[in-house]
């Protein structure tokens, strides 16, 4: 099986990768992470041996970039609330910004698993490939992440915020 031209690969995967990164790192960092992800992919592209699942491959790279980005952010001083690094071009958070904020507060593996499974609708086998873990671990991370989100949601409701 020969490699598709990178242009075709980029066109086929961009929406999926963007959705993942948007959910994983948020609107301020999504564009930088997206660019780093695809440039890393482009560097490695001609030497890529396993061509059977390009989506899992690019999501693995994106997941690593999101994790690196999360660590870099943790080292940096947190920007003041309400003053984003740059204006978000559109309201990506849909009509539930709190849920998305809660997703971004999840530990990295849980966050990635939740996004891969529930936002991108990937089967657990692919979630596992992208996260570089077993299918069981992927399932456990997604389950745990989802449980926490639900718990947070219930707290909010009890607090009368909705």
């Amino acid at each position: 099986m020969s490699l598709p031209p990178f242009a075709t690969f980029l066109e086929e995967q961009r929406v999926c990768v963007y959705r993942f990164l948007l959910a994983a790192v948020g609107p301020n960092d999504v564009d930088d992470c997206f660019q780093e992800t695809f440039l890393a992919a482009l560097r490695a592209y001609p030497r890529l041996h396993d061509r059977s699942n390009l989506r899992a491959w690019i999501l693995t790279i994106a997941t690593r970039k999101a994790i690196d980005q999360g660590r870099a952010r943790a080292r940096r001083p947190v920007p003041m609330e309400g003053i984003p690094d740059r204006p978000a071009p559109v309201a990506f958070d849909g009509d539930d910004p709190e849920l998305w904020r809660a997703v971004r507060d999840l530990p990295l593996m849980q966050r990635a698993a939740v996004i891969h499974r529930y936002v991108l609708d990937l089967p657990y086998a692919e979630v596992a490939r992208a996260l570089g873990c077993s299918e069981e671990a992927a399932r456990a991370n997604a389950y745990e992440g989802r449980r926490k989100l639900r718990a947070m949601r219930e707290l909010e409701h009890q607090g009368g915020r909705r």
Binding site: S2, L3, P4, P5, F6, A7, T8, L10, E11, R14, V15, V17, Y18, R19, L22, A23, V30, D31, F34, Q35, F38, L39, L42, R43, Y45, P46, P89, V90, A91, F92, D93, G94, D95, D96, L99, Y118, V119, R146, L149, R150, R153
Partner: protein, 214 residues
């Protein structure tokens, strides 16, 4: 909860990811990771696909060859690092537009012969590249200039496989027996280009005359 995850607006992500993908292409070019850049150009003979490497223009394709197949061919023969990058082809696109407006008689672009077989074929194409605007040459003549006077038929085959038509003007090579002859990109295009360049002046309008151009 599933429903809320789906509430991210599809059109916004589509648009934002498209912009981000353009930024990737831009950064790839600047970091030297773009081995082949591809763009589409409108023309009176159909939408043309043009491709360049760092060395120069490497491919021009008529729409009869489907763009996706041409991209695959480039990925397999040159490098899989093929990006759609119109800006990398600004000069070529502009010159093609000027040519079709009749304002340009010579292309000033570097050519990469990577897709032209070495040897006789390459010599045929190089000789063809020197035929001036508005003039024609015969297959026998080109074969002679490529060093094999009796290889007119082989010259015809080499021209049929020209990876860069229009810019390497294989349409300016015609049979000595008359008519415009064959063309890899359909004969109507050959006739259109020759007529546009004034090389068919004095002949009937679009009718096959059977007589020799000029």
């Amino acid at each position: 909860m599933m429903k809320e995850f789906g509430s991210m607006r599809r059109a916004d992500v589509e648009e934002a990811s498209r912009r981000a993908a353009s930024a990737v292409t831009e950064a790839a070019r600047r970091s030297g990771l773009e081995d082949v850049a591809v763009a589409m150009v409108d023309s009176p003979v159909g939408e043309l696909l043009v491709a360049t490497t760092r060395r120069g223009l490497v491919r021009l394709a008529y729409p009869d060859e489907r763009a996706e197949f041409v991209l695959e061919e480039l990925a397999e023969t040159l490098s899989p690092r093929v990006l759609e990058d119109p800006r990398a082809l600004d000069m070529v696109r502009r010159q093609l537009e000027e040519y079709f407006e009749g304002r340009r008689h010579r292309f000033e672009v570097r050519v990469d012969w990577a897709l032209a077989p070495r040897g006789f074929s390459r010599k045929v194409l190089e000789a063809t590249a020197r035929i001036p605007y508005g003039a024609v040459s015969t297959y026998g003549d080109i074969a002679r200039r490529a060093g094999s006077p009796r290889a007119a038929r082989a010259a015809g085959n080499a021209l049929h496989d020209n990876p860069i038509p229009i810019v390497v003007p294989c349409h300016r090579v015609v049979p000595s027996t008359g008519g415009v002859g064959k063309y890899g990109g359909s004969e109507w295009r050959k006739e259109f280009l020759l007529r546009m360049e004034g090389a068919l002046a004095g002949y009937g309008d679009g009718e096959e005359t059977g007589s020799r151009p000029r």
